[in-house]
Symmetry: C2
Subunit: 295 residues, 2 copies
């Protein structure tokens, strides 16, 4: 796919994701305004919108007319809740998120806890309401997102990540964390998009696997950039992972092995995408760029 075409489609998906987010989530002024204000504060903090973009693009790959806005927004709600709770004092105790005060700093700890707590059911409400006229689809989406956000994937990965490097550096633990903390949500994003687009069960599974491989690669690139980029390029301090006792792939297996695994995983993701019946050219390009990014 040509770079300029990719760019314009990418920007269009981001615009669509942000517009859906604003349209489908409660206004900051809705009662209780303290709670909804905190939810919107974190939802609107920006970022790459990678999960909704993957979902919208996967849906469009199988059906250019598919309306995946509710699924895309549900994914961003779950992602945002996990960031809010991750930043809390009892977790990473992080005062900043994307250059702004984290939710519990901008509001207070109780409000941040509750904002995260309310974003989870909002995600499932969006799926049940948004696809009410296709209940088999709604049920499949709820199941996909619930399993992904649950105790064996997203929250399970968070749990095993607790204690960082100090909690023991086994390759098995690292894979569990990589899969749960990062890859599971990217995998669900692709699978949910394919479901909304009406893909066959086989193609949904191919998208799920593509998202999983691309998701692990995405995290490995993060680790690598922390080790090798220069701070000006990255926009944040380098070497912070090692200093913070973070348990990373690059730290365990070294830079060369990490680079090889990123290449392998990206090839795997591309191959899964290209073996579907969908028009996955945009997704393939996105996955390649996720692996080649410098920031």
């Amino acid at each position: 796919m040509e770079a300029s075409l990719f760019q314009s489609r990418h920007e269009a998906f981001i615009t669509q994701a942000e517009s859906a987010l604003r349209r489908l989530t409660p206004a900051a002024t809705a009662r209780p305004a303290r709670l909804h204000g905190a939810m919107r504060y974190s939802l609107e903090a920006g970022g790459k919108r990678l999960r909704p973009v993957l979902c919208l693009a996967a849906a469009a790959a199988f059906d250019p007319g598919a309306d995946a806005d509710h699924a895309a927004t549900a994914l961003e709600c779950v992602h945002t809740y996990s960031l809010i709770h991750d930043d809390l004092p009892c977790m990473d105790d992080s005062d900043l998120r994307r250059g702004r005060p984290s939710c519990h700093k901008a509001f207070d700890e109780a409000t941040a806890l509750l904002a995260g707590d309310a974003l989870q059911p909002l995600a499932f409400e969006l799926l049940a309401v948004g696809y009410a006229d296709r209940p088999a689809l709604a049920t499949a989406l709820v199941r996909e997102l619930a399993v992904t956000a649950g105790s064996t994937l997203l929250v399970g990965g968070q749990t095993e990540d607790m204690g960082g490097l100090a909690a023991g550096a086994s390759a098995d633990r690292l894979e569990f964390i990589l899969l749960g903390k990062t890859a599971a949500m990217l995998s669900a994003s692709c699978a949910m998009g394919a479901l909304v687009g009406g893909a066959s069960a086989e193609d949904v599974e191919r998208c799920r696997r593509a998202g999983r491989a691309a998701g692990i690669a995405f995290q490995l690139v993060d680790d690598l950039l922390d080790l090798t980029a220069d701070a000006a390029q990255l926009g944040k301090p380098v070497g912070a992972d090692a200093q913070n006792g973070k348990f990373t792939y690059a730290g365990l297996h070294g830079v060369d092995a990490t680079k090889r695994r990123i290449e392998q995983l990206t090839a795997e993701a591309v191959s899964h995408l290209q073996s579907t019946r969908g028009d996955t050219a945009f997704l393939v390009e996105l996955v390649r760029r996720m692996a080649a990014r410098r920031t």
Copy 2:
């Protein structure tokens, strides 16, 4: 309904609810065991199992053969998550729950946060998986539970309750808290049971309203017992609400008005239940006993 028949049916529903809970939620030993151990610790802490019992009884009222185990367990998962997060230091900072160390005391704060976070998607997974062969039902159940657990009801009520009496004693605020914090989940329990039992939309709505009225009455009885019971009878200190600056109906409107409202709400709940086509004799008796309880 005869007292002995009520008792035996009540015990049977509690047994069924606890057996479903054990069967349908992950084992404490499942990976990560730290997380699943905390989830099971709080799920098994007991209590009246009021939400699952209401759900099972409402389903049985419309279809004695209905299998409402997944819905009942989903309700208890959401209720349990809300108790775990409620006890956290940034919320009520409570070291005890039902006479045992609260989750963050038995484990640690991060684990308790994550256990609550994982119980929410588990609830929605149970609905999507348990009713996969009736997707319209599954979708309706997800919607009911998601709205109930969301920012305008359960979490909204928690938010407005923050600060207790000191945050302002308006009757309007009190009603918002009563509806969201307590009544909404009891309302959803009755409605979800009726949905599983195949009740008509009108009867589901009657059950929803019955549960809402009974739920507000239930909280008012709590407030009243705190003011008027003796400690030995209640099994906990009396007068604690006033001392803790809790914002209660009895505190705002007085004992007599509280008693009158409990009677009114109970009559309203009974009337809704009796106007359905279901066999609601057990539910009617349960609602009357909820209002007349002394502990």
